[in-house]
Symmetry: C2
DNA sequence: ATTTAGCACTCCGTTAACACGAGTGCCAGC
DNA sequence: GCTGGCACTCGTGTTAACGGAGTGCTAAAT
């Protein structure tokens, strides 16, 4: 059932040790108590006496896979122990059909992208009873649909633009000269005719290029338009952000009941940048990605695990979603859950799949 | 210094008892320990022996103003005790000048309304070390500046409108028939020419009126425009919402260190409706409003106090801001703080005061 | 050579007993 | 009406004892 893992310590890390590690982790995930040799002897179907198991446990402890809180307690998996479990020992359970239908229902009838993101996050947290997080889709990969300028006071201009995912963005820019409403209208018309339907990234590049090389060919109106477009699509405009729900679920877990830890965690949530950076890393790898405890490198997440998956629209990775919970979580259920949710969210965001009523 | 409070129990609730209640509350707010008769005897400048003070305390306890956690502990103010203190005994301290300048600076250079709201909330929480909350300005009182329609798929139309506070709102509506981009443009032009500059509430009413009485006078294009406007400004569109910051500050207070309480509180924060309802009540009364402990009627807030003030733009109350903390908070500092912040936020939001760079 | 049984040991968690300090209520005297 | 004194109550912190759970080690059994 459990194959050997080919490492240098092959004579100790044989099938039996792994089997025992597996049942140890499973049992610990279930009831949160350090698990002792007697319990393990009963739980595993290899008929071994507690004494034998104690020997194996000592080996596992030497390898840093388990750890005992104090001399006469059972063993608890370490981060490495969890890692080995997740990578090689885990038997993932297929998603329960009732959860699948909940996901399907919820995501299929979301009106716009913002909706879908919120729904996805809420479903993640509700169905897992942990915290759900979904990053907003990256703007690079979406297309410009419509742009519009509106004069505020003097040289302040409100830029409104709509992407093909039916998201409305807006930003205030400061122009170098005063524009009349008619001029602004004209500029918008020009930009719409040229750039509508192209990706924002492409627009950004095109704008820079036009400004550099083709100034003499353009009339003043076109030049103004392109200049404003550059201001509007300025790089730092893309507000990285995410939707987080069910944080309060985390308050129920005993491993996070320490007020200082909890405070750090929630502060990390509201400061956002750290979490965003972490999620960005997950976007690079496709498929499900897992950070266990300190692996994330963020102190606030020391006692948490993060299970993520990137989601894609038209075969282009645009964001990440995931679940945050204590390291002691039911990975075998969470992993397929996150996986499926990512796929469904991607499908829901696909512009081709939006069906009019 | 402390005048008598005219109630039926005038012979017990004389100036001296009130003086003692005052110093008791002040001392309890300072160090959070139940305060005993000896401490009170030293703290108050009326020279009384502990024994005398014990008698007074017994009276105050009969009146339900103080309470002792157990037989041989000092006294702690009850909700009524805090209430009496806040209403009649409190000597508010003027805002520290460094806090005032922080507020001024922060709020004066906010770019748009959303900015200002966020800054206000952040300043409230940072400077008080508690949680700060600001409701978004109510849409009724703001003016329409520009409206725009954009066709999505089939009969789904994206409505974008801008208010004079430089806020961009958007909503997806479903029309009964298919419109061409030109028709949508025409409709938008019509609505802009008629309704631009009028308050949203007025627009809503005018639209309904027009549809009822004047159908024969209008051509089809105008009719379509007005119909769409009605959908766009549909009543339930106004998403009540608020900005909350510094929730994590609340995790430091011992009275909220109970995990269940804390969880309830944070859940109330994320569900929002309860909090919104509470804040709505505060909007009716102008000036500073205070809910102490259970007074709010929301179980989640049982051990919290809420100090709020409505804020106004052009003499019209549009929202509420406030501070949430434990009942044991420094009211004498928080009250003027909230008061001033509300006034400054109102000023910052005033469209006349927006200065171009 | 591996597994097992037995045994001494360690450590946690709970309970009880105890002293201490802080504060009260009440009474008698000023 | 105020005050000092006294007995009493209650929470806190310390200590000791004890049972339970689990380990490590050693010696015997397979």
């Amino acid at each position: 059932m459990v194959a050997e893992v080919g490492v240098s310590n092959s004579q100790v890390l044989n099938g039996r040790s792994l089997q025992l590690l597996k049942t140890l982790v499973e049992r610990y995930i279930n009831d949160g108590q350090p698990v002792g040799s007697r319990a393990l002897s009963k739980d595993s179907d290899l008929n071994l006496s507690p004494a034998t198991i104690r020997n194996v446990m000592a080996d596992l402890e030497d390898l840093g896979l388990v750890h005992s809180p104090h001399t006469s307690a059972g063993r608890v998996p370490t981060v490495s122990g969890y890692r080995l479990f997740v990578d090689s020992l885990l038997t993932v359970k297929p998603l329960e059909s009732k959860d699948l239908t909940r996901l399907h229902q919820g995501l299929s009838l979301s009106e716009d992208a913002g909706d879908a993101i919120g729904v996805a996050s809420r479903l993640l947290s509700e169905l897992t009873q942990m915290a759900g997080v979904v990053t907003l889709p990256k703007r690079e990969q979406v297309c410009l649909r419509h742009i519009e300028f509106l004069s505020l006071s003097h040289t302040r201009v409100l830029v409104i633009f709509v992407t093909d995912e039916q998201e409305v963005h807006n930003k205030i820019i400061h122009t170098s000269k005063l524009f009349s409403p008619a001029e602004l209208q004209q500029a918008a018309n020009y930009l719409n005719s040229i750039y509508s339907g192209r990706s924002l990234d492409a627009v950004r590049k095109a704008v820079v290029k036009e400004l550099q090389e083709a100034q003499e060919r353009m009339n003043q109106g076109m030049l103004d338009a392109v200049t404003m477009a550059q201001l509007a699509f300025d790089q730092n405009n893309q507000k990285d952000d995410y939707v987080l729900t069910g944080e309060t679920n985390l308050m129920g877990f005993s491993e996070l009941s320490d007020m200082d830890r909890l405070k750090n965690l929630f502060e990390a949530f509201s400061q956002k940048q750290g979490v965003i950076h972490l999620l960005d890393q997950c976007m690079k790898a496709d498929g499900v990605q897992i950070f266990i405890g300190e692996e994330s490198g963020y102190r606030a997440f020391d006692h948490c695990s993060l299970v993520t998956s990137s989601y894609s629209v038209s075969n282009e990775v645009v964001g990440v979603l995931g679940v945050i919970g204590p390291t002691r979580m039911a990975y075998e259920k969470i992993i397929p859950f996150v996986d499926v949710t990512a796929k469904l969210l991607g499908a829901a965001l696909n512009p081709k799949s939006t069906t009019p009523l």
